[in-house]
Structures are given as C-alpha cells and as structure tokens.
C-alpha cells in the first residue's frame, strides 16, 4: 500500500519552504487580507448563536461516536446507498482510488469530466492520474479553476486561490480563456468563468465530486457549496462519482442539524452557504443515471490507531484554523507542501503518511491555541502537535540533540550532578565570556546565541550562597 498526500512526500521542510514565501510581499498581503476578512465574519456569526459551545460539544461527540463504530457506520452507509441505486467502492490508497475513478469514466467512454472542488482528489493526485489516462478534468469551482489554469497549487482548503489577487487572476483568465480584453473587477472575472463553464456543464457526461457528509442511516450524501457549480455537476451529467474519505460518514440525517450550523459559519462566516444538496442514490428523471461513491482509506485507519491523535479525523474541513493561525497568516498555504495546509494540515499530513514524511510540519506552529479555540468540532490541535513532535523525536532515534537532551535530563534530575556541572561550566566558560555576557557559542549551540545573549555563569550559584548563609559564614 502506498499512501500519498498530493506531493507532500517530495516537499522541502516547512521551515525551508517558508523562507522565500516570507519575502513575497504580494502573497503575504493577499493572504493577510483574505484570512482577516473571513476571520472577522466568522467571529460575528459564531457569536450570534447562544448555543455555539453546545453545538461544538455535540459535533465533537458525534464524531467520536462515529469513529468508535466506524466499520459499522460505513457498512450501514454502503447498504443504504446501494439500496437506493448507488454503487460503493473501497480504495485502500490513492492509486487504488484513482484507478477506480478512471475505470468508471472509461466505462462511459468519456474523455472529459467536470469536477466539484474536492480536496480529497487533490490528496490522491486524481487530476494527474486522469490526464495520464487520457481524460481531461475541468475544475468548476472558481478558485479551483484559477489554480488549475494557473498551473498552481491550492493554498487553502476552503478558498484554494486566496493567495491570488484580481489582477493575477485576470492574467491567468486572459491567457487561458483567450479573452484579451477581460477586465479585473471580480464581477468580470466571475462572469467569464460562468460562460466558460456553462457549456461544459451541459455537455460533459461525467462529474467527479467529494462529499462533506455521508449519512449512514439513509445512504445520503451532502455537498455544501456557494456557487452552484456543485449543483450543476451533480444534476446534469449522466454519471456522478464521489470520492470521500472514510471519516466523512456521520450516523444520521438528523446530525446535519448540528454540522450545517457549524460548517458555514466557521468556513466562510455565513449563516448558511448558498446551496446544500442532499441526495440518496439515483432518482428517475432527476439527476444522474449512475452514482458511485469511492470510500478512501489512504492512511486514515492508521490515524485511528493512535489514541491521542485520532481526533484529527473529526475534521470537517472548514478552514477556520488556517485563518486563525499566526503562522499560516504569515506564510500562506504553500509552505506546508501539502493538500492540507495550516494547523489541521500540520497534524493530518504527516499522520496520513505514517509519520514517514512531512515531519517538519508539527513544528510549524507556536502552539498558541487559536486553532483549538475556533475549531467547530473541538480538535485539540496543539495537544496533537505536541504528541506528534514526540513521535518525530522517538522516530529520529539517537541524534546529537537527543543525546544532549538525555544528558541534560540526567544532570537536572540530581542536585549533586547539577552543581558539579555548574562548577565545570563556570570554570570552562572563560573563552566565550566578555563583560559578564556570552554572545556567541560554537557548534550546535550557535543557533541559541544567534538571536540572544546569555549571562555568564556566576562564581557562586544560588544554592551555594544559600548554604553558606545558613551556616552563618
């Protein structure tokens, strides 16, 4: 089995990838503006609901309960979906999911598909797999269209093109849609996308979508969107293929009354997003003739096996933690090198890859806790980050740092050893001391003194002074 999360396995460490992005002032301005707007709106509409905390507690408990019986809920969903005329497929990893989708498209003799925004398909690298198989995917979400035409990568799970401003979008559309006279007002750009895509909606026979929620009791699927491109894709083409992570299942239709209050307010700061579609299987005379759901594991069952970190799978992909994160707000999403950026990406990406790649991501945080506070399903992201840092250290075995830390632990755990070490250091420090300060240290300690000065170790420690005082000397 080969788990893949976009190109995260090949991405450079966060701390290195972030450096050039921090120098891109246009990008930082775009990200700061967009995240600022959503954050303010979110705070306003979340604050409007007197029962916000009760809704969060309910959502968290529903997700916990679901994961506890995930096997049963998935089987229940499958049975109900099949009974309503849908077909369910199971994919262990990204390649298996892509192969299933490609085979389904080929069975319809289609060479094009329209796509609703699905981060899960970015995770599996579906577009590349389809192109390699001779099928052209058209992204239909405005932001995803911008990313696709700009040969770019998504930088936010809800607003994937938030790093681009209007004139950058205009340049992309001018070139790729062949519209040299296109203006740069958001209205002009949106209208261009509308007319470019409408013809595709009416012509292309297969659509690919993700899923916000799979309903175990009815076999229904719920898609949450704003533009209407989702409704187009799941209503007009003859065949519809949904690709969904196994954690997207919730026990019942009624649970939507909780999630559909939390998700729009957290994601875009709206009381409700323009459109939610909920449907079950296929319906004669309305919508596709064939409906498929591909249930994707791709490392999720591995996350489930970690008692401290399995809450990662509660995520409903609202993006609130990205907008709230002081690190994300500086670097934008590309530094994370993954489909999933920001605090949730920092815990989800390495875990999906069994901690074999993206080990730098748990360190891409100041642990300030803003992400936990805004999370609508109460994922304690800082706690998971620390837990994962522990796993990274465990994994890395005996590095110089680890040996050093072990030695430090031994020294600090005994008063006798501490004093002996202090005496040694006091005597040995002279080559680096000037006027009572240590301003630069050699070797692996250089990083410490690069940004701060240390007081030299004094001739007498507090403990020595105390002892002498007690003995009345």
């Amino acid at each position: 089995m080969t788990v893949r999360v976009g190109d995260a396995a090949q991405a450079p460490p966060f701390q290195r990838a972030a450096l050039p992005l921090l120098e891109d002032s246009q990008l930082r301005k775009n990200v700061r503006h967009a995240t600022g707007v959503i954050q303010r709106k979110r705070a306003l509409v979340a604050g409007e609901l007197s029962d916000w905390q009760q809704l969060r507690a309910a959502a968290s408990a529903i997700k916990q309960q679901t994961l506890r019986h995930l096997d049963e809920y998935l089987l229940r969903f499958e049975a109900a979906c099949v009974a309503a005329g849908g077909q369910v497929h199971w994919a262990r990893d990204a390649d298996e999911a892509n192969a299933i989708v490609l085979a389904l498209i080929r069975s319809q003799n289609a060479s094009e598909v329209v796509k609703i925004k699905t981060m899960t398909s970015d995770e599996t690298g579906l577009n590349r797999a389809l192109e390699a198989g001779g099928v052209h995917p058209y992204e239909t979400d405005l932001a995803e269209l911008i990313v696709q035409m700009g040969e770019d990568r998504p930088s936010h799970i809800v607003v994937p093109a938030l790093h681009k401003n209007r004139s950058q979008v205009r340049e992309i559309f001018r070139e790729k849609m062949g519209l040299p006279g296109l203006g740069d007002r958001p209205e002009d750009l949106t209208a261009a996308a509308r007319s470019y895509l409408r013809e595709k909606f009416l012509r292309v026979p297969v659509a690919v979508c993700g899923a916000n929620f799979l309903l175990a009791d009815t076999g229904g699927v719920c898609i949450v969107e704003s533009e209407g491109n989702g409704r187009m894709c799941l209503t007009l083409p003859k065949t519809l293929i949904a690709i969904a992570g196994i954690e997207k299942v919730i026990p019942s239709f009624r649970d939507l009354e909780v999630f559909l209050q939390l998700l729009p307010r957290s994601a875009t700061g709206e009381r409700m997003n323009p459109y939610n579609s909920i449907w079950t299987g296929v319906r004669e005379g309305d919508g596709p003739h064939q409906f498929h759901v591909v249930l994707l594991d791709n490392g999720r069952s591995g996350i489930l096996a970690d008692a401290e970190a399995r809450q990662t799978l509660h995520c409903i992909r609202c993006g609130a933690c990205l907008n709230a994160c002081p690190v994300y707000r500086q670097t934008g999403g590309h530094a994370y090198g993954s489909t999933y950026a920001g605090p949730i990406g920092a815990i989800l990406t390495p875990q999906l890859q069994q901690m074999r790649h993206s080990q730098s991501l748990p360190y891409a945080s100041s642990l300030c806790g803003a992400c936990y506070e805004v999370c609508p399903v109460k994922i304690n992201i800082p706690e998971v980050l620390i837990h994962l840092r522990g796993r990274v250290v465990e994994q890395s075995g005996l590095s110089a740092e680890a040996i050093g830390m072990k030695a430090m632990a031994a020294v600090f755990s005994s008063a006798r050893r501490l004093e002996a070490a202090q005496r040694l250091a006091q005597r040995g420090q002279w080559p680096w001391v000037t006027d009572g300060w240590i301003r630069s240290l050699p070797g692996m300690f250089a990083g410490w003194t690069a940004v701060r000065d240390l007081r030299a170790i004094p001739r007498q420690s507090f403990r020595q002074w105390w002892r002498e005082r007690q003995h009345g000397r």
């Binding site: 533009e227 939507l256 209050q261």
Partner: protein, 212 residues
C-alpha cells in the same frame, strides 16, 4: 480485488479501534437550541431581514392576494417567459400571463427563460434559507429546474416557516428519499479577494413571496 480492499479497510479499522478506543461511550449531548422562541410575526421579520442580507428580494402578501402579487411582480420585472414547477397550484397564478409547464421544457428553455416559479417544503428564519424537496409533482421542481434559469421566484407560506435549523431537519426527516436542496440567497462566490459576487452558476436573482 475490490472485495479484498473492503475487507482490509474494515479489518484495519477494527484493529485500530481495539487498540486506541479509550473511556466509556457516553451519549451525544444534545442540549443545543432545538426550537426557537419567536412569535410568528418576529419570525417572519427575521426571515425577511436575513433574505435581504443575501440580496434576495422579498414581497409579503395575504393568501387571497397571491396571484395578483405574482402578477404585479412579473409585470414590474418585465418577465414574460415564465415556467411553473410541476404540481405548482395553478390557482396561485395570475390571469393574463402565459406559463409553460415544467414537463414540456428542455434544458435550453430553462437556460433562456425569464424566470421559474416554485413553492418550497420548509423555510428557516435564522439562516434565511428555503428548502426544496424534489419529489414528483410537489410544485418544487426537479433540481435542474431551479438551477439553470437566471431568476427563481419561490413562494413560501408562513406555516412552512420555522425559526431554527433543527426544527427544519425534524420536518424533513420523513422525506430523505427525495433529493433536497437548501437555498440561502442567490448563488455567490467570494473566491476573488473575498468580494461577494452574486450569481456564479445558479440563479442570479432570488425572489421570495411570503404568504401570510
């Protein structure tokens, strides 16, 4: 291979849960607000306010005046090619206009018409939402019926209006076999610089007639 994938995923889930489930299972706390406390008049006020915040237009009328209200709206807006959803009560439509029937139109007609008229199943005041249930002959249209046109006129009766989201889902639960669409204002995007733009792919104009 397909069956093997399913069995393997299920086995991995069971193994993981055996290893990592901690603590006793407790019931989901559902002490969030279920039903609202507003009287009918304030509920309608709230609904109207929320719809207008989404840039939807709202007209209020009495039940007896519905047909004439629709007539005035069509006249004012200059809408001539109007299509009614299958099962929408003909008595609610004004005289002197020609309405085409849902059953006789193609996608291209929906694309080109001035407006479509539907009823709805439930409406939610707090979120300014209308919910369509796409069953046969319910007067709420198929899914494409309210998607391809540029203007959607939706008749909401006061007795269909609830205050909260949980109240709406309680009413919808018996109908989960039918496709459901919740609509909150005209289609919109904020993908470019977080500027809200109306009407990307769905109707650009949502016209609600609230009948009390």
């Amino acid at each position: 291979m397909a069956a093997e994938a399913k069995q393997q995923i299920l086995a991995r889930i069971r193994e993981a849960n055996e290893r990592a489930v901690r603590g006793k299972e407790t019931p989901v706390p559902r002490d969030y607000v279920h039903s609202g406390g507003l009287d009918a008049a304030s509920r309608e006020e709230l609904f109207i306010e929320r719809l207008r915040e989404y840039d939807a237009s709202v007209t209020v009328c009495a039940s007896a005046g519905l047909a004439s209200t629709i007539g005035v709206l069509l006249q004012d807006r200059g809408w001539k090619h109007v299509i009614m959803a299958a099962g929408f009560p003909a008595a609610a439509l004004p005289f002197g206009f020609e309405f085409r029937q849902e059953a006789e139109v193609e996608n291209s007609d929906l694309d080109a018409c001035d407006a479509v008229i539907t009823g709805c199943e439930v409406a939610i005041a707090v979120t300014g939402s209308i919910v369509l249930r796409h069953g046969v002959g319910l007067g709420q249209g198929t899914r494409r019926f309210t998607l391809l046109p540029d203007r959607h006129l939706c008749v909401v009766r006061a007795e269909q209006l609830v205050e909260t989201v949980p109240e709406a889902f309680a009413l919808l639960e018996p109908f989960t076999n039918d496709p459901l669409t919740t609509i909150s204002g005209p289609s919109a995007t904020a993908d470019i610089e977080m500027t809200r733009i109306r009407g990307v792919h769905g109707p650009r104009f949502l016209e609600v007639v609230l009948v009390r």
